[in-house]
């Protein structure tokens, strides 16, 4: 049986807002196609070779956790860049997404360095951007819940994940949501993201399989429950 490897980066530190649901969904949707998935938890200070992972996931966290993670991430910067160049699939949400940009400038103007996978910068803001969000993307309509005060600005030429239909996205100017570089995705969407957006989950699985030279066509599933949940969320404030 084919087995994919998912590295869950910082499961203890970056774990609020249900982001773990993304891991549950990737594993289940692989299993339903007869593909196994091994989950490797990678914590602060652990050694890990990212080239052994097909998918790397990391979620949002509390501010204090984000500081611990920022230091650890610096040590892994070269490894992660190499994995991105090699086509490894990354999904980073909220706090980790911010640190995958070049830097995060906090309220007191101190700078938390990021690793620059995305050509983007995040600046602390006073507006809490919170609520259900709807995004139009290459992979269809995406629905989630955002909750952040950091405002992320992408450089000219950095690809967005999609455009904002409802909610804020990267910043209060509604200049788009998330970022995509090669197979690395960054987003503010909690909710969790993938349960209500199965097309994006399958896109990630397909890219992971293709990178291994395997057949990336996935047999289609009955996603009516996923569609109902997405529709219910899209209507809520």
């Amino acid at each position: 049986m084919t087995e994919l490897v998912l590295a869950h980066l910082y499961p203890a530190e970056m774990n609020i807002y249900g982001d773990t649901g993304n891991v549950i969904v990737l594993r289940k949707r692989a299993e339903w196609r007869g593909i196994g998935m091994r989950i490797d938890p990678v914590g602060v200070g652990d050694t890990y070779d990212f080239t052994s992972a097909d998918i790397v996931f990391s979620g949002g966290g509390q501010d204090r956790s984000q500081e611990d993670v920022a230091d650890d991430l610096q040590r892994r910067s070269d490894d992660i860049h190499a994995a991105v160049a090699d086509g490894t699939v990354f999904l980073t949400v909220c706090g980790t997404y911010q640190l995958f940009g070049r830097r995060f400038v906090t309220h007191d103007h101190t700078e938390m360095p990021g690793i620059g996978v995305f050509a983007a910068e995040t600046v602390a803001g006073d507006v809490r951007m919170i609520g259900n969000i709807v995004v139009e993307s290459e992979w269809g309509r995406l629905v989630g819940f955002e909750n952040h005060s950091g405002r992320t600005f992408l450089d000219e030429g950095q690809q967005h994940l999609g455009s904002v239909v409802k909610g804020y996205g990267n910043n209060e100017r509604r200049e788009g949501e998330g970022a995509v570089t090669a197979n690395a995705f960054g987003t503010y969407l909690h909710g969790s993201l993938l349960p209500k957006n199965p097309a994006l989950a399958d896109e990630m699985l397909g890219r992971a399989l293709a990178r291994r030279g395997l057949d990336a066509r996935l047999e289609s599933l009955d996603d009516s429950s996923e569609q109902r949940a997405a529709a219910a969320a899209a209507d809520r404030p």
Binding site: G18, I130, P195, S225, R236
Partner: protein, 429 residues
């Protein structure tokens, strides 16, 4: 003195007027009185001869408060306590005023106040607690508190002004509140490893046991929990090594923790150990906390959920219950928390062998159905709560219990539908 009496007079009059116009509003007298005399809480609290106990934390503070009050009353104390839900400054002020004589003295020898964990920073110092009890710290409705560390900081302010603190030794963030204090003023309750393993604190909710530390030696240890249908039998080991066997009417190992906290607080307040079991046993479950309500000839039990830690407690209880219909009703109004992401943080997978028949309801019924699907569990859905309740109840065999797991506003709606009668109408938040 005159200012206090005048504040009390106006506050009480406003309270009577508000009741006259049909607005319950237990906050109004306190709100008015505090405008006239901002020190109304300090002044009245200082007249309580044997001091004030404050109970705070995310989950279990209401139950712990009720348990402690029962134990203290059974030991002959006259106790003043705030009604469920009135756990902010104005609720405390109202309670103190309503129990004060016209000469401005509270007619009770002890007070036990449940205080909201965000309000305790301000209210705690005004009460100069003799004892502060912290049950646990968990992420509550995700859009209500940004940071758990911030909440711990709020509680720390109250810790610093309290003579003695009673802390949950199995919750690392709560235990840390005792750091730097004179060890004699920090007393701990905990459970044995076997019970603790099924009760993840928020700090290790997702870490799969990584980073779990052994609890420090506890003064009161929850040694045994055996479910008995609607309630449970527990054993508490006391500081002297003595053991108390208690039969609780309230279900769930988490209520064993609450009983341990209440027992430890009572011992510190010089209650004889022998008086504790009977008092704890006398406490009935409230609506939303395991009380059984009769509906269409069936037994219906309601278990409120507010956050992933609380949901995990209910999941553990359901996993051990006899198979029957379970209805999970998730709303996303302000009082529930608008973000339902937390459903993915609960260990719903633990229910896949439970044999229950699941239905989902509420505004976000579809989200719950999806969570169940990815846990390998089939369910039916009906967003209309009344229709869903009827369907779940109709599916129950004779003598079976229908479990309903609602968020807060769904529970309020159930209260209307089930109409359990006045005595049960006390709603827990």
């Amino acid at each position: 003195m005159f200012r206090l009496l005048f504040a009390m007079f106006l506050g009480r009059s406003a309270g009577r007027l508000s009741r006259l116009f049909g607005r319950g509003g237990s906050a109004i007298p306190g709100l008015i009185a505090e405008k006239i005399d901002p020190r109304v809480i300090e002044k009245l609290a200082s007249t309580i001869g044997q001091g004030v106990v404050v109970v705070t934390g995310t989950n279990g503070k209401t139950t712990t408060t009720k348990m402690l009050v029962r134990v203290l009353e059974s030991a002959g104390h006259s106790v003043v306590t705030n009604p469920t839900g009135s756990n902010l400054a104005r609720g405390v002020a109202t309670t103190l005023m309503e129990t004060a004589s016209w000469r401005g003295r509270v007619v009770a020898d002890l007070a036990v106040f449940e205080i909201d964990e965000a309000a305790v920073r301000k209210v705690g110092p005004r009460l100069s607690p003799r004892l502060l009890v912290v049950t646990n710290l968990a992420r509550d409705q995700l859009d209500r508190f940004g940071e758990l560390a911030t909440t711990a900081g709020h509680i720390r302010v109250a810790v610093e002004v309290s003579e003695t603190v009673v802390l949950n030794a199995d919750d690392p963030m709560v235990t840390a509140l005792g750091d730097g204090r004179d060890p004699g003023s920090v007393r701990l309750f905990a459970a044995v490893g076997e019970i603790r393993a099924g009760m993840p604190s928020d700090s290790n909710l997702y870490a799969d046991g990584r980073g779990r530390v052994d609890s420090p030696a506890a003064d009161v240890l929850l040694e045994r929990v055996v479910s008995t249908g609607d309630g449970q039998e527990i054993t508490l080991r006391l500081p002297a090594g003595e053991r108390l066997d208690v039969t609780l009417q309230v279900p769930g190992a988490y209520n064993g923790y609450n009983a341990a906290a209440a027992a430890l607080a009572a011992l510190i307040l010089d209650v004889e150990p022998g008086a504790i079991p009977a008092a704890l046993e006398s406490m009935p479950p409230a609506f939303g906390r395991g009380q059984v309500v009769e509906f269409s000839g069936k037994r219906v039990k309601i278990l409120l959920v507010k956050n992933p830690a609380g949901f995990n407690q209910v999941i553990r209880l359901l996993a051990g219950a006899d198979p029957g219909p379970v209805l999970v009703a998730i709303n996303d109004l302000d009082a529930d928390g608008r973000d339902v992401s937390w459903l993915w943080d609960a260990r719903v997978e633990d229910l896949d062998q439970s044999g229950h028949a699941f239905g989902t309801s509420g505004i976000r019924a579809a989200d719950m159905a999806l969570r169940l699907k990815y846990a390998g569990i089939d369910s039916w859905s009906d967003t209309d709560l009344k229709a869903a309740l009827d369907r779940a109840v109709a599916a129950a065999g004779p003598g079976a219990t229908v479990h309903i797991v609602p968020t807060y506003t769904a529970m309020m709606r159930l209260l209307e539908i089930l109409n359990p009668g006045r005595s049960a109408r006390e709603v827990w938040t």
